[in-house]
């Protein structure tokens, strides 16, 4: 349903026929699988049909459920489900459809039955997040297997920082850092995290990713007056370098409004006017009146 280009020309007769055949075949197999599910049939032939359907259409929760039912029934009382084939199947499904809820959940279900496999799962996550660094399904799965593998918060943070080293435009990784920040930051931590954000901000001031993290770090170290003053100076510098950029102006204005001792009406008024000019779409969010300091 996403990203399918409109056809400029009607599909050829062959293409239409091929799709119709695919649809008819899928429909036939699906009817067999659902009938077998209703009849609680767990034989090899049924197992194979369900697996085939899942590789074609990994989003069908009923078929994943049926596969679990069959695995549990076939393992028998006290028997263990073989986890390896589940990992192989879900890996294939996820390569085809990396955002398939059903595939990720089935994989988690399987790994929970054999937690010793969790460390290897972290490597699979690393592979998937190289292909799509923002895949939130994979980030969510990673958090689950990270717990199973007994990763420490430091391990988790090291991974997220590694992703940012590869590409600072990664909001998912900034989210991970922010989720681990304490409520208030000591000076050393605040300074370090502001540095992390700053590296990204100076490279690409129009990329939002780091700005949200920057705002959050500042919110957690507002009591550190000299840090805040230094940040105001930095933002004024960045703004001079990038006068047409919205985010440096917005971040500076936010900080000034929360730090009235450092603000003048003239500067606030200019930032307010600049924001309304650079980013007219958000004029109502900024408001018509210059905020009072």
């Amino acid at each position: 349903m996403h990203g399918r280009k409109k056809q400029t020309q009607p599909p050829s007769a062959e293409a239409v026929a091929a799709l119709a055949k695919k649809a008819a075949n899928y429909r036939k197999l699906s009817a067999i699988a659902l009938a077998a599910k209703a009849a609680k049939k767990h034989d090899d032939a049924t197992f194979a049909v369900v697996e085939k359907l899942l590789t074609v259409n990994p989003d069908v929760h009923t078929l994943w459920n049926f596969r679990k039912e069959m695995l549990l029934a076939r393992a028998g009382d006290g028997g263990a489900v073989a986890v390896g084939p589940e990992l192989a199947l879900t890996a294939a499904c996820l390569k085809k459809q990396p955002k398939s809820y059903g595939s990720w959940y089935h994989r988690l279900w399987a790994v929970r039955r054999e937690p010793a496999r969790a460390p290897a799962e972290l490597e699979l996550c690393a592979e998937f997040l190289k292909l799509d660094e923002r895949n939130f399904h994979c980030w969510n799965y990673r958090r689950d297997v990270s717990r199973l593998a007994g990763e420490s918060p430091a391990d988790v943070l090291a991974y997220a920082r590694g992703r940012l080293d590869a590409n600072f435009s990664n909001y998912s990784a900034f989210h991970e850092l922010a989720a681990h920040l304490p409520r208030t930051l000591d000076r050393e931590t605040a300074r370090r995290e502001l540095d992390v954000a700053r590296q990204a901000l100076f490279c690409e001031p129009d990329d939002q990713s780091a700005w949200w993290y920057h705002a959050d770090v500042l919110r957690r170290c507002e009591a550190e007056a000299d840090l805040v003053d230094a940040e105001i100076a930095t933002l004024r510098e960045l703004r001079d370098l990038e006068p047409g950029s919205k985010w440096p102006a917005l971040a500076l204005l936010r900080l000034l409004l929360r730090t009235p001792r450092a603000a003048t009406h003239v500067e606030v008024a200019r930032l307010h006017a600049d924001l309304r000019r650079i980013d007219p779409a958000h004029a109502h969010m900024y408001g018509a009146d210059v905020p009072v300091i």
């Binding site: 649809a23 989210h175 920040l181 939002q208 300091i293």
Partner: protein, 371 residues
């Protein structure tokens, strides 16, 4: 009365992009529901219940007689066949019950005035039994947890009239609220589970759940309103997360959340309407995710729903159609008729900057709970 032809609509004269393909969308929605041989139809059979809900609601927003034009009696009979003995509904015949499709089924029955035809007590019991000790909800018996399911549960019980005034209560609303609150992030948004990244679809579910529970006081409206408003891209469309492409479906997830928070005016509403109109398929009808892409029923519903939330139809030849309710995603008159209650914030009078200037005097906003 026959619908006005598109070329005669007043907005068409103003700007060629502002044409709304009213008739074509209606024919598209009818055609899609009947084209059961198509590969797209076959592959999405497992979630047909949601597809039918999108199609019916879109038709209702177009001011159509849903019962007549979408074969209401047959739809009701089919929905009832999808209810399992446990009370939950499957996405299609022979498919397993799930909270996602239970909500869609109840929404369809509500649209068609047939809620009393299903076993409502059993449906409510099914939903309630999926609540966990931490307040979260499993999607089904297999145990997946997601804040989408929290919304489905609260909305389903509200539609069934089983959320309040039951003694003892069917679910622990306070605990359900607590779980959603634990999913709040540094950016004011919400993810699927505690610790998960904010995402527009997830935010709608969490804000919607809190609205139904009347606990919007837990939302940081300034921070989240700002984050949601920054989803608007240069194209006018909205994206679902920072640095992602705009997509029509976020017109719904973001705009409904902003509306519930009283801050829909923090984006350029006219520009968003123009983006949605640009995503229409001019030939066959329907709305696509982005300009130049193929239409589908999901984006057609969210596109029309977005225009409805924007009150875009007012002042056009299509004025007087039912508005959509931002919390329950059903036509507002139906929500009123069913007596569904939710809290919605009044339109924020203070701008973001004024709030920032004021906040320094007050207790600073609490950061989200640590993991």
């Amino acid at each position: 009365m026959a619908a006005l032809s598109e070329s005669a609509s007043p907005e068409a004269a103003a700007s060629p992009e502002a044409v709304f393909h009213d008739e074509k969308h209606a024919s598209y929605l009818v055609a899609v529901s009947k084209n059961t041989e198509a590969i797209e139809f076959v592959l999405t059979e497992y979630m047909r219940m949601s597809g039918v809900y999108w199609g019916l609601t879109a038709m209702a927003l177009l001011g159509r007689d849903v019962h007549k034009e979408m074969d209401g009696d047959a739809v009701v009979a089919w929905v009832l066949r999808c209810q399992h003995p446990c009370g939950g509904f499957g996405g299609g015949e022979g498919h397993d019950p799930h909270l996602l499709y239970t909500l869609s089924a109840l929404q369809i029955l509500a649209l068609l005035g047939a809620l009393d035809k299903c076993d409502g007590a059993k449906a409510a019991a099914y939903v309630a039994a999926l609540q966990q000790g931490d307040g979260s909800f499993h999607g089904d018996e297999w145990g997946e947890v997601d804040t989408r399911f929290s919304y489905c549960a609260l909305s389903s019980l509200a539609i069934l009239g089983e959320l309040w005034n039951r003694s003892p209560p069917l679910i622990d609303v306070a605990k359900a609220v607590d779980f959603v609150d634990r999913c709040r992030n540094f950016d004011g948004g919400y993810g699927a589970v505690p610790g998960a990244e904010s995402h527009a679809g997830q935010i709608f579910c969490c804000v919607g759940a809190l609205a139904i529970a009347k606990r919007l006081d837990l939302v940081d409206g300034t921070l989240l309103g700002w984050w949601l408003a920054e989803r608007q891209c240069d194209s006018g469309g909205l994206n679902g997360r920072p640095e992602k492409q705009a997509d029509v479906c976020y017109s719904w997830w973001i705009l409904s959340s902003l509306t519930i928070l009283g801050r829909s005016h923090w984006i350029d509403e006219a520009k968003l309407a123009a983006f949605i109109l640009e995503c229409q398929e001019g030939d066959g009808g329907g709305v696509a995710d982005r300009p130049g892409n193929m239409a589908d029923v999901f984006h057609t519903f969210f596109g029309i729903g977005g225009l409805s939330l924007l009150s875009w139809f007012d002042g056009t030849a299509y004025a007087g159609r039912p508005a959509i309710d931002p919390v329950f995603a059903l036509p507002a008159p139906l929500v009123a008729e069913l007596g569904l209650e939710a809290s919605v914030c009044p339109r924020a009078t203070a701008s973001l900057l004024e709030t920032w200037a004021r906040a320094r005097d007050e207790a600073k906003a609490t950061p989200p709970p640590s993991p």
